[in-house]
Symmetry: C2
Subunit: 237 residues, 2 copies
DNA sequence: CGGCAGGCAATTGTCGACAATCGACCATTG
DNA sequence: CAATGGTCGATTGTCGACAATTGCCTGCCG
């Protein structure tokens, strides 16, 4: 297979050629590493929607066997980043603006309203310190006009709260939509007129958590998720 | 391994002993079959929360190799039915009533409001006929006091609408919460005072779809999902 | 010239074996 | 007797090979 010309494989090459050979990061399992590499490549657009992937091709590119790649692709499929057709391959998926508006954002609101409420009474001083350090990172990223880091810190903040809520199923659902949320964060982040408002908004969320008023917290979370999104388009309601 | 006594393996045996040897249904892939068998066993309580599973044990019980079992367990983990600890095994998870109320139900509302809206103008006569046949099945199940079938038809109805909405990410998120929704349907179905109202409510949803009023549809969907749930406990709002 | 059966290449699905890792038990030592 | 280090069983992580399936392409037949 490696000696014969194969247009499909060549197409995969073009998208994957710049991927780091995962030999360096052997800290986590390979499945996880492969999933991270592919997720990153899809998120930043290195692997465009419609790109066809094969298990063997990805495995060869990343210098591993098919088994971890196979599991990683299954995971990405669960995350909605790719779709696989039995015996025919896997394809990279896109996320439409309409689905973000009408599915991901409302789901996030439902999920995070609950998560913030549950997290509120559980937070220790160390937890607050951690959240505040993430906010500082956001401010620094905004200062440096580093949109990608800003989006990543934003995701980390929300995931931290969901994790600290201690609600297992909440976290599970969050993880299943997180890659897509991150995808639209990254896409939208470059459009912000003033990136410093992101850090400010999160600081306000931390304040709302400290205040202890559940209804105010609900309002703050809802407003934040919608506002964060309104940057590119006016919401329906 | 098979000749030596192993308490953990014996524990797995006790839970899995009644599982059908999957040799009969080789229509779908084995991964899918294994996932279905385990999901069913967890849903009906045959595998109780806290039950420990091992890839080799399940594979032996079902007469297959570890590869499909492994993938099935990963999928169930994404679905929130089990949790796996690296190098130490997999454990069956439960779903708390609180998380159902505060996570699954609100997420369902967000998701299905959008799905019903998008499905409405796309539905053909054949689609309506299919939905109505599902409603008739519900009525028949209620008549026969078959709570399990009633829950299954209920799930099928909602999945059908989400599928017909044509929204890929909507369907993907639905699939990721569907097993847990099914789990609480099954648990709650036995508590219904009058099971026939379930079929009636879905008939009303079909009517709302036919009527073409988006706002009325939103209200109907929201009320249905909450009402369906109110059967066991009064919702917060 | 068009449709169809059959082979062929590409890809995923499945399997058995081996390596890596974790936790517990046990012997050793101060 | 307590702390510590090593060893061992159990389990998952990874690999390479083989089987099954799909879609295409080709060549035959009407």
């Amino acid at each position: 297979m490696s000696t014969k010309y194969d247009p499909c494989y060549a197409a995969a090459m073009s998208g994957l050629s710049a991927l780091p050979a995962l030999s360096s990061a052997s800290l986590a399992s390979r499945r996880e590493t492969v999933a991270d590499v592919l997720r990153e490549a899809i998120t930043v657009g290195q692997l465009p929607a419609g790109q066809k992937l094969t298990e063997a091709g990805v495995a060869a590119q990343l210098g591993t066997s098919r088994a971890p790649v196979r599991e990683a692709l299954r995971q990405l499929e669960q995350e909605g980043l790719v779709i696989s057709y039995p015996y025919r391959g896997t394809e990279v998926l896109g996320v439409s603006q309409e689905e973000i508006e009408n599915v991901l954002v409302p789901v996030r609101v439902s999920l995070e309203k609950f998560a913030f409420r549950k997290a509120m009474p559980r937070l220790t001083d160390a937890d607050y310190a951690h959240l505040e350090s993430l906010v500082r990172n956001m401010a620094a990223a905004a200062e440096a006009a580093d949109a990608a880091s800003l989006a990543d810190e934003d995701i980390r903040f929300h995931e931290a709260v969901v994790t600290l809520s201690g609600q297992q199923h909440c976290l599970q659902i969050w993880r299943s939509i997180q890659p897509r949320v991150r995808s639209y964060f990254r896409r939208d982040a470059s459009h912000y007129a003033d990136a410093t408002v992101v850090a400010e908004q999160h600081r306000e969320l931390v304040d709302a958590l400290r205040a202890g008023d559940e209804q105010a917290l609900d309002r703050a979370v809802t407003a934040h998720i919608n506002t964060h999104f309104k940057a590119t388009k006016d919401p329906a309601e």
